[in-house]
């Protein structure tokens, strides 16, 4: 009788209980199995070799591009290039940068700009003058250096100047810069722009 009563007890176990037991057993077996197999360290984890290869190639490619780029512009709040539909690529040349706060010749600040104008003290005290004296001095120095270099190299001084100007620079300041550069014997100008704009604004 005692035996008899035990069996129905077992049969009365709910489905959930059976499943729970089974899961526990399986987990134990797995733990044992893992200990027994003991995989060598390093064989676990995702294979990243192919990813590594791709990344290394991309990095080298990008770094090459970076160093070959003849014109690099660090855009910011005070230097946003205007967009254009042009397809012409920049060439290495001397560069004048006109930001909202100053004029820079080849990474050297030469004169400050305030509200889109240069202080008249730098223009010989004359508001209507187009010549910006500190800019002229810096550009003349650059022109002399380039002429000396082309003389030694047996080539001709080409007088090319790249102008990197903020998009909100007033036309007056642009012409002042162009005039001053013209006085320093730069004759051809290239305006740096961002490619890929829509025609008509």
């Amino acid at each position: 009788m005692a035996h008899h009563t035990k069996i129905p007890k077992k049969e009365h176990r709910t489905r959930e209980e059976i499943i729970a037991d089974w899961v526990a057993e399986q987990a134990q077996a797995q733990r044992k199995g893992r200990k027994a197999r003991r995989l060598p360290a390093g064989d676990v984890g995702v294979t990243i070799n192919s990813l590594m290869d791709a990344m290394t190639i991309i990095l080298v490619f990008l770094l090459m591009n970076y160093s070959v780029d003849p014109l690099r512009v660090d855009s910011g709040e005070d230097l946003k290039l205007p967009a254009s539909t042009t397809e012409i690529n920049p060439d290495p040349s001397a560069a004048v940068t006109v930001t909202a706060r100053g004029i820079v010749v080849n990474d050297k600040a030469v004169v400050a700009v305030k509200d889109g104008t240069v202080d008249k003290a730098h223009k010989g005290g004359d508001e209507t003058s187009l010549n910006i004296q500190p800019l002229f001095d810096a550009l003349e120095q650059e022109a002399t250096r380039q002429k000396e270099m082309s003389r030694l190299a047996g080539s001709k001084f080409d007088g090319v100047l790249t102008i990197i100007a903020h998009e909100e620079t007033p036309y007056r300041l642009v012409t002042e810069v162009l005039y001053t550069a013209g006085q320093a014997e730069f004759q051809k100008f290239k305006f740096a722009v961002l490619k890929g704009a829509q025609r008509g604004g």
């Binding site: 990344m55 990095l59 014109l71 305006f191 008509g200």
Partner: protein, 202 residues
């Protein structure tokens, strides 16, 4: 364990620990990508500026140059030329000058292209310049001048509109102008008024 005792020296080559290099590469790539790939810089060629508008051409010159000038004002464009009467070229009636302004008449003031709303009407400018080009196919020089407060980006957009010849001679609206394709002459882009010279308005 048993295997290890049999083979005391593992013939497998140990991998390098590449995790630090990976970290570096993963950081560098977005940095360099942001710095270069997204920003494509181009240039627009411009000739040395001419200072003082409407300077008389040398008298010994056999054919008087057209001396076409596009002026950008706060309220729109104005096309002028000293070599020809632009109004006649375009076949439009000259604009009535308020008051007696001999200076305007002397410089050969051409048509005015008013802004359409807030924006400059580049389409009308292109259409007119194509008409002028048809009459003077040899001319390539255009003077560009502007009021002193006009921002640089307007000048760039104006140059974009007048330098390159598109497939059509005229466009009805901005949408058509934007989707227009550039006209090619063999492998080279056909040019409209490519030699832009900056000038200063007096």
């Amino acid at each position: 364990m048993a295997r290890r005792n049999k083979k005391p020296f593992d013939d497998k080559i140990e991998d390098l620990n590449l995790v630090p290099i990976m970290n570096l590469v993963v950081c560098l790539i977005p940095m360099v990508l942001l710095g270069t790939a997204l920003v494509k810089i181009g240039v627009i060629n411009v000739n040395a500026p001419k200072f003082g508008m409407g300077q008389a051409a040398p008298d010994d010159d056999e054919q008087k140059p057209l001396n076409l000038t596009v002026a950008v004002g706060e309220d729109g464009f104005r096309i002028t030329a000293t070599g020809a009467d632009i109004n006649t070229v375009l076949g439009i009636a000259p604009e009535a000058v308020p008051g007696d302004d001999p200076a305007a008449a002397a410089t050969g003031a051409g048509p005015k292209i008013a802004k359409s709303g807030e924006n400059y009407d580049y389409v009308a400018l292109y259409n007119m310049l194509v008409q002028i080009k048809e009459k003077f196919p040899e001319e390539t020089i255009v003077n560009l001048t502007a009021d002193s407060r006009i921002p640089f980006k307007i000048m760039i957009q104006t140059m974009d509109s007048i330098r390159i010849r598109l497939s059509e001679n005229s466009y009805p609206d901005l949408a058509a102008f934007r989707t227009a394709t550039v006209d090619y002459d063999g492998n080279n882009v056909k040019l409209l008024w490519p030699d832009v010279v900056f000038a200063v308005a007096q």
